[in-house]
Amino acid sequence: MSRSRRHSLAVLRGRRRLDVEDHRAMTTANNNEASVRQVVSQLGIDVSRYDHVLALAGNPNTGKSTVFNALTGLRQHTGNWPGKTVTRAEGGFEHQGRRYKLVDLPGTYSLLSASQDEEIARDFLLFGRPDCTIVVVDATILERNLNLVFQVMEITTKVVVCVNLMDEARRKGLSVDVGRLSEDLGVPVVAAAARRGEGLTQLLDAVADVVSGAVQPMPRCPEPPPELREAIDELLPLLETLAPGVPNARWLAYRLLEGDHNVRQALLANRLPGVVAEQARQVQRASRKIALEGAQ
C-alpha cells in the first residue's frame, strides 16, 4: 500500500445528492455513522475529482468491507454477519498518480432476485458503468461465491476477482490456485488477505491494468439454458438496433425477460443510446452519466 496515498472522500449519498444514479432505493441510503465522517472529510477535498470509478461487489461475509477500508483508509464498520453493509458507501484513494473512487455495493448472493440490495448493486453495475468491478470472494467457499462472479461478468467484462480470506483458507488447509482460476474465468484474479494487508497492492495493480486497458479481461461465462439462449439471441439484434453499441446488451436482454422494471423504463425513455453516447465522453465524468433519474 506504500505507493497509494489514501484519502477520504465523501462517504455516503443522501444528504449530498451528488451525482451518481438517483435511484429511489439509493436516495434513502444514508448511514448516520458515516454522515459525520462525511462532513469531516468534505473539508478541503473536492469530491468530484477522480479519474476512475470502481465498484466493489461480493457475497456478504467475504470481508468486502475490510477490503474497502484497507483501500480507502476509511473506517466503514465491518461486522461478521450477513448484510452488514446495508447502505452503499463511497470512498476514494490514489494509486500510481490516478485518483479512484470506490463504491462499496451491498453484499449480495446473487444479482438475479428482486430484493432491494440486489437491485441497488445490479443497477449500479448496469447503469453506473464502473470502470472496473472488483468482486471479492471468500477463498474458503469459492464455489458458492463464483455464482456471483459469473453474474457480474455477464454484466461487465471489466472485472477483477479478489480471492480474500486467504489466511483463513490456509488455516483450514485449503489452497487456491489463483493462476488456474484466472485462466478458467478469463479475468485477472488476485489472492489477498485484506485484514493483514496482503495482496492489496497486487489488487490495485490489476485494477489499474484493467482500467487502462493494458489487460483486457475475456470473461468465460457458462452457457445459459437453450430456451433462454434462443430468447436472448432473438432480442439481442433488436436491442442493438435500438441502441447501437450498448455494451451489456446480453444482460439487458436477460433482464427484459425477467421483467426488470428499471431496464424497461430506460428502454422506453430511450435512454439506452444516451448511456452509450455518454460513455464516449471524458472518463472523469464516468459516474455522472446515469440514466434512471426519474425511475419512480
Partner: protein, 344 residues
C-alpha cells in the same frame, strides 16, 4: 354610526369567509369519500358484468345489484349512472358492457389478480386473506401502477388461484381446465384454479392443504364426497367444494416421482444428501433465495446444526452453513446418499 356599521360589515364578512372555508374543508373529504364509494360500486358492477359475459350469461339489473350488494331501490340508479358514463348498454335480454366498459373491467380484474400475486409472492400473505385485501386494493391502483406491478412481478401469467391475469393490451387467456367433479378417476391432474367464492368453502379447501399447481389424482367419487391424493396425503372434499376446483392435465413432463426421496426437513442430522428438486409451487423470493445459496439439482447438502428450540436447522451447502426454517426445508426433495458411498 358609520364606523359601527363598517365594523359589523367586516364582522359579517369574516364570519362568511371563515364559514365557507370550514364548510369547504369539511365537505372535501366527504366528497372524495363519496367519489371513492361510487368508483368502487362501478368497478364491482363491471367485474360482475365481465364475468357473466365471459361465462356466456347475461347480466340483469338484479344480478348486478346482488353482486354489488345494494338495496333494491338503488339498483336501477346505479345501472343508469353507469350507462350514462358509457360503460354499459341496456338491451332487451339484459345488460352489456360497452367497449370502454370492458376495458375498464379488464383493468380492475388485472389489478385485483396482480395484487393477489404480489401479496402471495412478496408479502407472504396467506391464501385465505388474498381476496379480501385485493378487493380493497383493486380500486386504488392506477393503470400505471398496475403496469409497474406487472413488471416488478415479472409478468406472471396467473394469479395465485390459477386465474389468468389479463394483459395490459386487454387480452385475457381463457382458463384451460374443467371442474374436478367431471375429471376421470385415477387420471393425473393438476389443479389450475380454486374459486375463492364462497369464501367459507374456499377456506375449507385451503385448510386441507390443496393449492393451485398441485398434482393430484382422484381416488374415489361418490355423491357425498370425493377423495383426492397427491401421492402423500389424502384429501376428502364435499361435492360442493370439489366443484370449486378446476383441474387440467399436468403440464409437460412427469410429476416428480418422490419414491426414495425425503424432504430436506426430514433428513437426519449429519446425513449427506443430493438435492433432487424444489417444489414447483414454492415460488417467489423464497425459491430464489434457496437457489442463490446453491440448492440446485445435484448439489450436496448436509444438516449440521439445530437451534436451541430445535426448529431452524443449519445445512452445509456448497461449503457454507445456511440456516433454514422447517417450512422451507420441507419444500426441497433430496435423495440421501448411502452411508457406504459417503464413506468412499
Amino acid at each position: 354610526m358609520a364606523a359601527v356599521a363598517g365594523q359589523i360589515l367586516a364582522g359579517v364578512l369574516l364570519v362568511l369567509i371563515a364559514g365557507s372555508l370550514a364548510a369547504w374543508a369539511l365537505l372535501r373529504p366527504w366528497r372524495s369519500w363519496r367519489q371513492r364509494q361510487e368508483r368502487s360500486l362501478f368497478e364491482h358492477a363491471l367485474k360482475h358484468l365481465f364475468t357473466r359475459e365471459h361465462g356466456g350469461e347475461d347480466a340483469t339489473v338484479d344480478s348486478v345489484g346482488d353482486a354489488v350488494g345494494i338495496s333494491l331501490n338503488k339498483r336501477q340508479g346505479l345501472v343508469t349512472r353507469m350507462a350514462d358514463a358509457g360503460l354499459l348498454r341496456s338491451a332487451a335480454e339484459g345488460l352489456h358492457l360497452t367497449v370502454e366498459g370492458r376495458q375498464y373491467a379488464l383493468h380492475v380484474i388485472r389489478a385485483h389478480r396482480l395484487w393477489e400475486r404480489y401479496l402471495a409472492d412478496d408479502a407472504n400473505v396467506p391464501m385465505g386473506d388474498l381476496h379480501r385485501a385485493a378487493h380493497r386494493a383493486e380500486h386504488r391502483l392506477t393503470p400505471d401502477e398496475v403496469a409497474a406491478l406487472d413488471a416488478h412481478l415479472g409478468y406472471p401469467p396467473t394469479d395465485p388461484h390459477g386465474d389468468p391475469i389479463p394483459r395490459a393490451t386487454g387480452e385475457c387467456a381463457a382458463l384451460a381446465g374443467m371442474s374436478l367433479t367431471d375429471w376421470p378417476i385415477d387420471k393425473p391432474a393438476c389443479i389450475v384454479h380454486i374459486e375463492d367464492e364462497p369464501e367459507v368453502v374456499f377456506r375449507q379447501i385451503l385448510a386441507q392443504g390443496l393449492r393451485p399447481g398441485q398434482s393430484v389424482r382422484v381416488l374415489e367419487r361418490t355423491p357425498h364426497r370425493m377423495i383426492l391424493t397427491d401421492g402423500v396425503e389424502e384429501y376428502r372434499l364435499a361435492p360442493q367444494a370439489a366443484a370449486q376446483l378446476q383441474v387440467a392435465a399436468p403440464p409437460q413432463g412427469e410429476p416428480l416421482d418422490t419414491h426414495g426421496l425425503v424432504r430436506l426437513s426430514d433428513l437426519p442430522d449429519g446425513r449427506e444428501a443430493e438435492v433432487i428438486a424444489i417444489d414447483e409451487q414454492y415460488r417467489g423470493l423464497g425459491r430464489r433465495r434457496l437457489l442463490d445459496f446453491g440448492l440446485t439439482q445435484g448439489a450436496r447438502v448436509c444438516p449440521e446444526l439445530r437451534g436451541i428450540f430445535r426448529d431452524p436447522r443449519a445445512f452445509r451447502i456448497r461449503g457454507s452453513l445456511v440456516s433454514l426454517r422447517s417450512e422451507q426445508a420441507s419444500r426441497v426433495w433430496v435423495r440421501p446418499i448411502d452411508e457406504s458411498q459417503q464413506a468412499a
